[in-house]
Assembly symmetry: C2
Homo-oligomer: 200 residues x 2
């Protein structure tokens, strides 16, 4: 009876929207109904925005960021090189999160994931070779890789590969999130926060 | 710094996707990154599906269903009139839910909401006049309106308006959902389920 719920065009739209992260079959249907109700204000602008983005979106060949130009806005901005900091992240979402935090004039390198032998992800599947080539242009490589087992393995692997370049290697500090409540934090974070305590 | 996270085309796409029900700014960004990563498999097909749906989608002038033809597939199917049942629902999503349940050869009437004086929704804002005109062609009008205060007010208003037509008016049964656990049900549902108990 699926075909009676709106015809093939609508069914296909539901199926595609359902594949977005955070949506499923039910919320995909709700999203499509919402789009159809707001046809002028939302559906038509979204269709146009998607068409434009399909044409415009590029992956930066230098750092792996997503932008409409390559090299991306960050790699093309010479002021970004002044601090000499190159922050290594797993994913474009991490880069965007750091940019939203306004951390300043830095450059990034997007690995595209972490080493994961079980999932068949080896060094050649990540942009590690490109990182090794870029690193000597910077004074410090900051590892902004997530504190998971795979993330830490990847961080160690990168540190080994960068050992000969003489570039300083640091990692983001562990500790209590600003505004976080101790009660909700895991033991690893708390013990790191105590070890790295600073004078008040 | 928002413009550095991918250029205006990507920002606009994030903003539009964030307005879908079930998504917010954070999940909108995740959705856009997912789309860009799956450009060939998801982003381009979704852009094409949206363009097709924008052109194809029509609201059925008879019942308010959404389809690619008007009258819709259900209203155009003469077998649907055989049972003489016309089910009144608030929203297209309710119609689709009943269709997925495979309830059989019935027709529907989508009100487009419920009476809500506080929100300024009066009888003229819903398709109640159209319902009154359609009802005499059917032997029974089944009220499938949600059991909220506004829904029940709307059901009473429709019942009053249909009183002169001589059409039988029923409502969907209240009771324990199939597979539902008593422990999780509200008292209103449980007391209705006891009142309407059936022989085992």
């Amino acid at each position: 009876m699926a075909s009676t719920s709106g015809g093939p065009e609508i069914e296909q739209l539901i199926q595609l929207l359902s594949r977005l992260p955070g949506l499923g079959p039910r919320s995909g249907r709700r999203a499509v109904l919402h789009l159809i109700k707001k046809k002028e204000q939302l559906m038509i602008p979204l269709a146009a925005a998607l068409d434009r983005a399909v044409d415009a979106v590029k992956v930066c060949q230098t750092c792996g960021n997503i932008d409409t130009i390559s090299p991306c806005t960050i790699c093309a901005d010479p002021r970004r090189a002044e601090t000499g900091l190159l922050i290594v992240v797993e994913d474009v979402a991490d880069l965007w999160a750091l940019e939203r935090a306004g951390i300043g004039m830095v450059r990034y390198h997007v690995l595209g994931g972490v080493l994961s032998p079980l999932d068949g992800v080896g060094p050649d599947d990540l942009s590690i070779d490109q990182l090794i080539r870029r690193a000597p242009d910077y004074s410090e490589v900051v590892l902004g890789i997530n504190a998971t087992v795979e993330g830490q393995t990847t961080a160690h692997y990168i540190t080994d590969r960068l050992a000969d370049t003489g570039v300083a290697i640091t990692r983001l500090a562990h500790g209590v999130p600003v505004g976080g409540e101790l009660d909700y934090l895991d033991e690893g974070t708390l013990s790191q926060a105590l070890k790295a305590r600073t004078r008040f």
